[in-house]
Amino acid sequence: MKIISKLWIFIGVLIALSPLGLLLPEHFKAGSAWGEWGTDEMQELVGYIPKGLERLSSIWSAPIPDYAFKGWEEKPMLSLSIAYILSAVVGILICVGVVFIFGRFLSKKE
Protein backbone atom coordinates (compact mmCIF):
# COMPACT_ATOMS: atom_id res chain seq x y z
CA MET A 1 0.00 0.00 0.00
CA LYS A 2 1.20 3.46 -0.75
CA ILE A 3 2.37 5.49 2.21
CA ILE A 4 -0.19 8.22 1.47
CA SER A 5 -3.04 5.72 1.84
CA LYS A 6 -1.55 4.48 5.09
CA LEU A 7 -1.38 8.04 6.40
CA TRP A 8 -5.06 8.60 5.53
CA ILE A 9 -5.93 5.44 7.47
CA PHE A 10 -3.87 6.80 10.38
CA ILE A 11 -5.96 10.01 10.28
CA GLY A 12 -9.13 7.85 10.24
CA VAL A 13 -7.96 5.95 13.31
CA LEU A 14 -7.22 9.22 15.10
CA ILE A 15 -10.73 10.48 14.26
CA ALA A 16 -12.26 7.29 15.68
CA LEU A 17 -10.18 7.64 18.86
CA SER A 18 -10.75 11.39 19.21
CA PRO A 19 -13.50 11.06 21.89
CA LEU A 20 -10.67 10.11 24.26
CA GLY A 21 -9.89 13.82 24.20
CA LEU A 22 -13.36 14.39 25.65
CA LEU A 23 -13.76 11.37 27.94
CA LEU A 24 -10.37 11.41 29.70
CA PRO A 25 -10.65 15.06 30.88
CA GLU A 26 -14.23 14.30 32.01
CA HIS A 27 -13.12 11.19 33.88
CA PHE A 28 -10.28 12.95 35.66
CA LYS A 29 -12.42 16.01 36.37
CA ALA A 30 -10.06 18.32 34.56
CA GLY A 31 -11.60 21.72 33.84
CA SER A 32 -11.05 24.00 30.87
CA ALA A 33 -7.62 24.61 29.44
CA TRP A 34 -5.79 27.42 31.25
CA GLY A 35 -6.82 30.77 29.77
CA GLU A 36 -9.81 29.31 27.92
CA TRP A 37 -12.51 29.80 30.55
CA GLY A 38 -16.01 30.98 29.83
CA THR A 39 -17.32 34.10 31.56
CA ASP A 40 -19.00 32.07 34.36
CA GLU A 41 -15.75 30.34 35.22
CA MET A 42 -13.96 33.69 35.10
CA GLN A 43 -16.44 35.10 37.63
CA GLU A 44 -15.63 32.21 39.97
CA LEU A 45 -11.87 32.43 39.46
CA VAL A 46 -11.22 36.14 39.89
CA GLY A 47 -14.51 37.41 41.34
CA TYR A 48 -15.45 39.59 38.38
CA ILE A 49 -15.72 39.43 34.62
CA PRO A 50 -13.23 41.76 32.94
CA LYS A 51 -15.26 44.33 30.96
CA GLY A 52 -13.43 43.95 27.66
CA LEU A 53 -13.46 40.19 27.93
CA GLU A 54 -17.21 40.18 28.51
CA ARG A 55 -17.74 42.39 25.47
CA LEU A 56 -15.44 40.43 23.11
CA SER A 57 -16.16 36.90 24.31
CA SER A 58 -19.45 36.73 22.42
CA ILE A 59 -18.20 38.46 19.26
CA TRP A 60 -18.34 35.19 17.33
CA SER A 61 -20.98 32.50 17.55
CA ALA A 62 -19.47 29.30 16.17
CA PRO A 63 -21.90 26.90 14.45
CA ILE A 64 -20.54 23.82 16.30
CA PRO A 65 -19.21 25.30 19.56
CA ASP A 66 -16.59 23.16 21.32
CA TYR A 67 -17.12 20.25 18.90
CA ALA A 68 -20.65 19.68 20.22
CA PHE A 69 -24.01 20.47 18.70
CA LYS A 70 -25.91 23.41 20.13
CA GLY A 71 -28.39 22.33 22.80
CA TRP A 72 -26.57 19.06 23.44
CA GLU A 73 -24.83 20.24 26.59
CA GLU A 74 -26.84 17.93 28.84
CA LYS A 75 -26.70 14.88 26.59
CA PRO A 76 -24.92 11.72 27.81
CA MET A 77 -21.23 11.24 27.02
CA LEU A 78 -22.05 8.74 24.26
CA SER A 79 -23.96 11.38 22.27
CA LEU A 80 -21.24 13.92 22.95
CA SER A 81 -18.63 11.44 21.73
CA ILE A 82 -20.56 10.92 18.50
CA ALA A 83 -20.83 14.68 18.06
CA TYR A 84 -17.07 14.90 18.71
CA ILE A 85 -16.33 12.35 15.99
CA LEU A 86 -18.71 14.05 13.54
CA SER A 87 -17.03 17.38 14.32
CA ALA A 88 -13.64 15.84 13.57
CA VAL A 89 -14.95 14.46 10.27
CA VAL A 90 -16.50 17.79 9.25
CA GLY A 91 -13.46 19.79 10.34
CA ILE A 92 -11.04 17.52 8.53
CA LEU A 93 -13.11 17.41 5.34
CA ILE A 94 -13.06 21.21 5.27
CA CYS A 95 -9.30 21.29 6.07
CA VAL A 96 -8.62 18.89 3.22
CA GLY A 97 -10.90 20.78 0.86
CA VAL A 98 -9.25 24.11 1.66
CA VAL A 99 -5.74 22.67 1.21
CA PHE A 100 -6.69 21.12 -2.13
CA ILE A 101 -8.10 24.44 -3.35
CA PHE A 102 -4.94 26.22 -2.11
CA GLY A 103 -2.88 23.46 -3.69
CA ARG A 104 -4.40 24.09 -7.11
CA PHE A 105 -3.22 27.68 -6.97
CA LEU A 106 0.07 27.07 -5.19
CA SER A 107 1.45 23.91 -6.75
CA LYS A 108 3.57 23.68 -9.86
CA LYS A 109 2.11 21.79 -12.77
CA GLU A 110 4.21 18.80 -13.64
Partner: protein, 227 residues
Protein backbone atom coordinates in the same frame (compact mmCIF):
# COMPACT_ATOMS: atom_id res chain seq x y z
CA UNK B 1 -3.05 27.29 23.83
CA UNK B 2 -6.04 28.43 21.74
CA UNK B 3 -6.45 31.97 23.07
CA UNK B 4 -10.21 32.77 23.02
CA UNK B 5 -11.88 36.07 22.13
CA UNK B 6 -11.73 38.57 24.95
CA UNK B 7 -8.43 37.56 26.54
CA UNK B 8 -6.29 39.86 24.40
CA UNK B 9 -6.81 43.56 23.90
CA UNK B 10 -7.49 44.96 20.41
CA UNK B 11 -3.92 46.25 20.09
CA UNK B 12 -2.38 42.85 20.75
CA UNK B 13 -4.83 41.14 18.38
CA UNK B 14 -4.11 43.66 15.63
CA UNK B 15 -0.36 43.45 16.14
CA UNK B 16 -0.36 39.66 15.70
CA UNK B 17 -2.53 39.86 12.58
CA UNK B 18 -0.01 42.40 11.25
CA UNK B 19 2.89 40.13 12.18
CA UNK B 20 1.29 37.14 10.47
CA UNK B 21 0.55 38.96 7.18
CA UNK B 22 4.14 38.92 5.90
CA UNK B 23 4.63 35.40 7.28
CA UNK B 24 1.56 34.09 5.45
CA UNK B 25 2.63 35.93 2.30
CA UNK B 26 6.15 34.50 2.45
CA UNK B 27 4.78 31.01 3.18
CA UNK B 28 2.49 31.15 0.12
CA UNK B 29 5.31 32.44 -2.08
CA UNK B 30 7.82 29.83 -0.92
CA UNK B 31 5.35 26.96 -1.03
CA UNK B 32 4.27 28.06 -4.51
CA UNK B 33 7.88 27.80 -5.67
CA UNK B 34 8.49 24.33 -4.31
CA UNK B 35 5.19 22.45 -3.98
CA UNK B 36 4.56 19.76 -6.57
CA UNK B 37 0.98 18.80 -7.42
CA UNK B 38 1.89 15.33 -6.08
CA UNK B 39 2.65 16.76 -2.64
CA UNK B 40 -0.74 18.44 -2.18
CA UNK B 41 -2.30 15.33 -0.54
CA UNK B 42 0.57 15.29 1.95
CA UNK B 43 -0.11 18.92 2.80
CA UNK B 44 -3.79 18.04 3.29
CA UNK B 45 -2.83 15.15 5.58
CA UNK B 46 -0.64 17.57 7.52
CA UNK B 47 -3.56 19.95 8.09
CA UNK B 48 -5.88 17.05 8.97
CA UNK B 49 -3.34 15.58 11.39
CA UNK B 50 -2.80 18.87 13.18
CA UNK B 51 -6.58 19.44 13.35
CA UNK B 52 -7.38 16.06 14.90
CA UNK B 53 -4.38 15.80 17.25
CA UNK B 54 -5.45 19.10 18.85
CA UNK B 55 -8.79 17.44 19.75
CA UNK B 56 -6.98 14.98 22.04
CA UNK B 57 -7.28 16.97 25.25
CA UNK B 58 -4.98 15.48 27.85
CA UNK B 59 -6.14 16.02 31.44
CA UNK B 60 -4.07 17.05 34.41
CA UNK B 61 -6.29 15.28 36.99
CA UNK B 62 -8.41 17.73 38.95
CA UNK B 63 -6.90 20.62 37.10
CA UNK B 64 -6.75 21.66 33.52
CA UNK B 65 -6.32 20.19 30.05
CA UNK B 66 -4.00 20.72 27.14
CA UNK B 67 -2.95 19.04 23.96
CA UNK B 68 -0.23 18.52 21.38
CA UNK B 69 -0.29 20.52 18.13
CA UNK B 70 1.40 18.04 15.80
CA UNK B 71 3.06 20.98 14.09
CA UNK B 72 6.63 19.82 14.59
CA UNK B 73 5.91 16.55 12.82
CA UNK B 74 4.32 18.38 9.90
CA UNK B 75 7.34 20.70 9.75
CA UNK B 76 9.81 17.81 9.73
CA UNK B 77 7.95 16.07 6.90
CA UNK B 78 6.98 19.08 4.76
CA UNK B 79 9.28 21.87 5.88
CA UNK B 80 8.36 24.81 8.14
CA UNK B 81 6.70 27.02 5.51
CA UNK B 82 4.30 24.33 4.31
CA UNK B 83 3.66 23.43 7.96
CA UNK B 84 2.78 27.07 8.62
CA UNK B 85 0.10 26.90 5.93
CA UNK B 86 -1.25 23.51 7.02
CA UNK B 87 -1.52 24.52 10.70
CA UNK B 88 -3.03 27.92 9.81
CA UNK B 89 -5.79 26.15 7.85
CA UNK B 90 -6.52 23.90 10.85
CA UNK B 91 -6.52 26.82 13.33
CA UNK B 92 -8.77 29.05 11.20
CA UNK B 93 -11.34 26.27 10.80
CA UNK B 94 -11.18 25.50 14.53
CA UNK B 95 -11.86 29.15 15.33
CA UNK B 96 -14.59 29.82 12.76
CA UNK B 97 -16.50 26.56 12.93
CA UNK B 98 -15.89 25.26 16.43
CA UNK B 99 -15.14 28.39 18.47
CA UNK B 100 -11.81 26.82 19.52
CA UNK B 101 -9.60 29.90 19.72
CA UNK B 102 -11.06 33.35 19.18
CA UNK B 103 -11.50 34.97 15.78
CA UNK B 104 -9.85 38.13 17.11
CA UNK B 105 -6.95 35.95 18.30
CA UNK B 106 -6.39 34.04 15.05
CA UNK B 107 -3.29 36.15 14.41
CA UNK B 108 -1.86 35.43 17.87
CA UNK B 109 -2.76 31.74 17.82
CA UNK B 110 -1.27 31.31 14.34
CA UNK B 111 1.87 33.16 15.46
CA UNK B 112 2.37 30.69 18.33
CA UNK B 113 1.22 27.42 16.82
CA UNK B 114 1.69 27.92 13.06
CA UNK B 115 4.90 29.99 13.12
CA UNK B 116 6.93 29.75 16.37
CA UNK B 117 6.19 26.06 16.86
CA UNK B 118 6.94 24.59 13.42
CA UNK B 119 9.98 26.81 12.83
CA UNK B 120 11.68 26.19 16.18
CA UNK B 121 10.79 22.50 15.95
CA UNK B 122 12.09 22.16 12.41
CA UNK B 123 15.44 23.81 13.13
CA UNK B 124 15.98 21.92 16.39
CA UNK B 125 15.29 18.66 14.55
CA UNK B 126 17.64 19.69 11.77
CA UNK B 127 20.44 20.68 14.15
CA UNK B 128 20.27 17.41 16.11
CA UNK B 129 19.70 15.06 13.18
CA UNK B 130 22.15 16.78 10.84
CA UNK B 131 24.06 14.16 8.86
CA UNK B 132 22.43 11.19 10.62
CA UNK B 133 21.29 8.31 8.39
CA UNK B 134 17.56 8.31 7.57
CA UNK B 135 16.92 5.15 9.61
CA UNK B 136 19.03 6.17 12.61
CA UNK B 137 17.87 6.41 16.22
CA UNK B 138 19.27 9.93 16.35
CA UNK B 139 16.46 11.12 14.04
CA UNK B 140 13.80 9.68 16.36
CA UNK B 141 15.40 11.36 19.37
CA UNK B 142 15.82 14.60 17.41
CA UNK B 143 12.11 14.54 16.53
CA UNK B 144 11.13 13.99 20.18
CA UNK B 145 13.39 16.75 21.49
CA UNK B 146 12.20 19.14 18.78
CA UNK B 147 8.53 18.41 19.64
CA UNK B 148 9.11 18.92 23.35
CA UNK B 149 11.14 22.13 23.12
CA UNK B 150 9.07 23.74 20.35
CA UNK B 151 5.73 23.18 22.10
CA UNK B 152 7.16 24.70 25.27
CA UNK B 153 8.54 27.74 23.48
CA UNK B 154 5.14 28.29 21.84
CA UNK B 155 3.42 27.88 25.23
CA UNK B 156 5.88 30.35 26.74
CA UNK B 157 5.04 32.92 24.07
CA UNK B 158 1.31 32.35 24.69
CA UNK B 159 1.88 32.76 28.44
CA UNK B 160 3.80 35.99 27.82
CA UNK B 161 1.03 37.36 25.59
CA UNK B 162 -1.62 36.48 28.21
CA UNK B 163 0.54 37.92 30.98
CA UNK B 164 1.16 41.37 29.51
CA UNK B 165 -2.57 42.07 29.11
CA UNK B 166 -3.16 43.36 32.68
CA UNK B 167 -0.18 45.69 32.19
CA UNK B 168 -1.66 47.09 28.99
CA UNK B 169 -5.34 47.26 29.84
CA UNK B 170 -6.82 48.24 33.20
CA UNK B 171 -9.88 50.13 34.35
CA UNK B 172 -9.27 53.18 36.53
CA UNK B 173 -10.37 51.01 39.46
CA UNK B 174 -7.54 48.56 38.79
CA UNK B 175 -9.64 45.74 37.32
CA UNK B 176 -8.25 43.97 34.28
CA UNK B 177 -10.09 44.58 31.00
CA UNK B 178 -8.98 41.38 29.28
CA UNK B 179 -6.86 38.50 30.60
CA UNK B 180 -6.74 39.18 34.36
CA UNK B 181 -3.59 37.15 35.08
CA UNK B 182 -0.23 38.88 34.87
CA UNK B 183 3.16 37.53 33.86
CA UNK B 184 3.79 36.22 37.38
CA UNK B 185 0.93 33.74 36.93
CA UNK B 186 0.42 33.25 33.18
CA UNK B 187 4.03 32.54 32.28
CA UNK B 188 4.82 29.92 34.95
CA UNK B 189 1.44 28.20 34.52
CA UNK B 190 1.60 27.97 30.74
CA UNK B 191 5.24 26.90 30.80
CA UNK B 192 4.83 24.57 33.76
CA UNK B 193 1.92 22.56 32.42
CA UNK B 194 3.55 22.16 29.02
CA UNK B 195 6.97 21.29 30.49
CA UNK B 196 5.41 18.70 32.79
CA UNK B 197 2.72 17.13 30.62
CA UNK B 198 1.72 18.41 27.20
CA UNK B 199 5.28 18.81 25.87
CA UNK B 200 5.81 15.10 26.38
CA UNK B 201 2.70 14.32 24.35
CA UNK B 202 4.05 16.37 21.42
CA UNK B 203 7.47 14.70 21.88
CA UNK B 204 6.08 11.15 21.89
CA UNK B 205 3.70 11.68 18.96
CA UNK B 206 6.44 13.30 16.86
CA UNK B 207 9.08 10.68 17.68
CA UNK B 208 6.77 7.68 17.17
CA UNK B 209 5.52 8.78 13.76
CA UNK B 210 9.07 9.54 12.57
CA UNK B 211 10.20 6.14 13.84
CA UNK B 212 7.31 4.47 12.02
CA UNK B 213 8.06 6.30 8.77
CA UNK B 214 11.79 5.48 8.69
CA UNK B 215 11.40 2.07 7.08
CA UNK B 216 8.36 2.36 4.74
CA UNK B 217 8.81 5.98 3.66
CA UNK B 218 12.47 7.08 3.84
CA UNK B 219 11.78 9.54 1.00
CA UNK B 220 9.59 11.59 3.38
CA UNK B 221 12.55 12.02 5.72
CA UNK B 222 15.15 12.75 3.07
CA UNK B 223 16.71 16.18 3.25
CA UNK B 224 16.66 18.77 0.54
CA UNK B 225 13.09 18.36 -0.60
CA UNK B 226 11.42 20.47 2.03
CA UNK B 227 9.05 23.28 1.33
Amino acid sequence: MHIPDGYLGPGTCGLFYLAMLPIWTAASRIVKKTLNARQVPLLAIGAAFSFVIMMFNVPIPGGTTGHAVGGVLVAILLGPWAACIAITVALVIQALLFGDGGITAIGANCFNMAFVLPFTGYYIYKAISCGAPIDSKRRVVAAGVAGYVALNIAAGVAGFVFGIQPLLHKTSGGQALYCPYGLNVALPVMLGEHLLVFGWVEAIVTALVIKYLQKPAPELLAEGRKI
